[in-house]
């Protein structure tokens, strides 16, 4: 039996719910794998050794850090699932704007908290990650593919082509051309473009595709009605450090002007 662990750090449990939503696949998997750690779903958990450990959520508390470091030590393969684990997630979107103290004080009115807190980080900022399955939540088909690949000794590989590619495949009318703010051109596909097919612009929840052109993306968003600063914020929602680094490098002049 292959030992699988599913661990949650700081997040919304949405990815673990999507994993539970893989109903038929889970049934079929039960013959070959053993969920030896899945506290959201079961009591009998052992945290001893894993062939594959899936990690959801960002590293935000000292407990998170301890858990993920231990998890890394005892796992052959570690997979970060969801945008919190892969990039830091929504909770990291203002890491470059305000201090941790300001955020804690703003929410709790005090900095005296029962747990030690750091700025939300991606799992890869703390331990080595073998594979990433981003998305908010992760795409459940990709989860099933990744498990199936790993069970058969194949490296899971999902090409980082932009969401625009999937709109073409599903014959979805281009929202950027219709004037709707859409992050499709710079976002990692694999979701099947469910948002754009409903007329909602891509929100970039799966992070960057390969070679994203932020310069052009920002000017398109400006043409489609967003102020430059709002375009930055729109792009930053899910991408964490990835976008913060690119934006601060490419648009340093703009940010200085604003005093940010």
């Amino acid at each position: 039996m292959v030992k699988i662990g599913i661990m949650g750090l700081t997040g919304c449990s949405g990815c673990q719910c999507e994993i539970l939503n893989c109903e038929d696949a889970i049934y079929k998997l039960l013959g070959r794998v053993e969920f030896s750690y899945f506290p959201l779903a079961q009591d009998n958990n052992s945290f001893e050794e894993f062939d594959v450990l899936f990690v959801e959520g960002s590293v935000t508390t000292d407990l998170d850090e301890e858990k993920v470091k231990k998890g890394r030590e005892i796992s052959k393969i570690l997979v970060a699932v969801g945008s919190c684990a892969c990039y830091g997630g929504v909770q990291s979107q203002r890491n470059d704007e305000v201090s941790l103290e300001e955020m804690i004080k703003g929410v709790y009115g005090t900095t005296e908290l029962p747990v030690k807190i750091s700025k939300p980080r991606a799992v890869s900022e703390v331990v080595k990650v073998d594979y990433e399955l981003p998305g908010c939540p992760l795409d459940k088909r990709q989860f099933v593919y990744a498990v199936a690949f790993l069970l058969n000794g194949v490296k899971p590989f999902f090409p980082k082509i932009p969401v625009c590619h999937e709109c073409k495949l599903s014959e979805t009318e281009c929202l950027t051309l219709k004037g709707i703010p859409c992050q499709g051109p710079i976002s990692f596909s694999g979701c099947g473009a469910p948002c754009t097919s409903q007329g909602v612009g891509c929100q970039g929840c799966r992070g960057d595709c390969d070679f994203p052109n932020y310069n052009e993306m920002v000017s398109i968003l400006e043409r489609n009605g967003l102020k430059r600063e709002d375009a930055f914020k729109f792009i930053k929602v899910f991408r964490g450090k990835q976008a913060q680094d690119r934006i601060s490098k490419l648009f340093r002049g703009d940010l200085d002007e604003k005093g940010a």
């Binding site: 700081t10 949405g14 506290p39 203002r94 703003g106 007329g199």
Partner: protein, 413 residues
């Protein structure tokens, strides 16, 4: 003699929780329910964001009840900008809620709670002996998921749920199909009600719980007014006045009371309040149960969840009919930002949820306050744990642990 009981990682609950209980000379000395979930600063990361970014950001508070966070924030935004939506948009939102409740309640009942009552460590372990029961849970959940995917665009964190309505709406055929599926799942929900009625529920709470829910003429998940079980009425704008929130020294969830007392929210509070106004088909099912509502027993929250699924599935069939008759309809109204503050409340599957935002004239958020069910429930769960310990002092540690976990799970925190 001092005895300590620690549950370091509560399983089969959505958040990260732990319990410490200290008993000394047969007297309860200390109870601490700790939520150790890392903070995510939602009231801070929404600042300076445009109003149309808010529902997307706050829906990430909870992967199971994301529809609740989206709809409460949307209610607050529409309140701030004086947006009135059409009846069809309102119906679509209510249908979305039907999907959310079927998904969330079925997940809770079959996967988190049921293993306790059937004597298994998990639903997956239970599947070997009771495949049909587990499959039924999967099926009800799946119907809920399909509704959320159809209207919201994705099963979890659908992005089509926006201030002003929806960018696209289901086709008539899709609505018919959903109506059909809801209709077919009703017997399975009735079987769920009867299954959860068949268990023995010991009572771990002392008095009738002091409770709070949305007030309306009949069973309602959305609204503007609240009612306490002592009859006190107040509006959503007065929520922050009635609820006293304290930061806890041992939990990242805040500690809330009303009139100095812990209070109950969620399925049992709702079913107790609305029992006389439920649909006649639901009432008929209730008449044949050994459990009677209103009930004072907290563990009946599980049965109340099953009852809510039935009431909402029946409502869902009616909503689909109305929407099919109204076809074709517009899914969206215009939203014009202006400066101001808006309030939104909604009954999330596990209890009341409150969102409040202030916007500047461009529709940028300048401040936010969100009060989640888990934060409101911390106080009453601790109170119940105290009663449980008082009543089961002779119980072995393992047994006491199990009871404590069952009790906490009944709240689905």
């Amino acid at each position: 003699m001092k005895r300590e009981l620690n549950i370091n990682h509560l399983t089969r609950v959505e958040g990260h929780g732990a319990v410490n209980i200290v008993i000394e000379n047969d007297k309860l000395r200390e109870i601490k329910l700790r939520f150790t979930e890392g903070p995510r600063f939602f009231e801070y990361i929404t600042r300076e964001r445009l109003y149309n970014e808010i529902p997307k950001i706050v829906s990430r508070i909870c992967g199971i009840c994301y529809v609740s966070h989206r709809l409460s924030s949307i209610a607050a935004i529409e309140d701030a900008f004086d947006v009135k939506v059409t009846e069809e948009i309102d119906l679509l939102r209510k249908l979305l809620i039907v999907g959310e409740y079927l998904e969330s309640h079925a997940l809770h009942l079959y996967f988190l709670a049921l293993p306790d009552y059937m004597g298994y460590p998990s639903a997956l372990a239970m599947a070997k002996d009771y495949p049909n029961v587990v499959k039924r849970g999967f099926h009800i959940k799946e119907v809920g998921n399909r509704i959320m995917k159809l209207i919201g665009g994705k099963t979890v964190h659908g992005e089509n749920i926006l201030a002003g309505g929806f960018k696209s709406v289901p086709t008539k055929e899709q609505l018919q199909k959903i109506q059909d599926e809801l209709y077919k799942v009703i017997p399975e929900i009735k079987a769920t009600v009867s299954l959860f009625d068949s268990f023995h529920y010991p009572q771990y709470n002392e008095k009738p719980p002091f409770s709070l829910c949305i007030n309306s003429e009949k069973f309602s998940i959305l609204g503007n007014e609240l009612i306490l079980s002592d009859g006190t009425l107040f509006t959503k704008k007065e929520y922050e006045i009635f609820i006293e929130e304290k930061t806890s020294s041992y939990s990242t969830a805040k500690y809330s009371t009303i009139k100095g007392k812990p209070f109950l929210i969620g399925p049992l509070a709702r079913v107790n309040h609305y029992v006389d106004t439920l649909r006649s088909e639901t009432k008929e099912v209730l008449r044949n149960l050994k459990t009677k509502f209103p009930s004072e027993n907290i563990l009946h929250s599980n049965l109340a969840r099953a009852v809510e699924m039935l009431e909402l599935a029946l409502e869902g069939v009616e909503i689909c009919q109305k929407l099919i008759e109204a076809y074709p309809f517009e899914g969206e109204v215009e939203v014009k930002p202006k400066a101001g503050t808006g309030y939104g409340i909604k009954e999330a599957p596990r209890g009341l949820l409150f969102h409040k935002y202030t916007f500047d004239e461009n529709g940028r958020c300048t401040s936010a306050n969100i009060i989640t069910p888990t934060a409101q429930l911390q106080a009453i769960i601790e109170e119940n744990l105290g009663t449980l310990v008082e009543r089961s002092k002779d119980a072995e540690n393992e047994d006491l642990k199990k009871k404590a976990e069952m009790l906490i799970r009944a709240y689905d925190p």
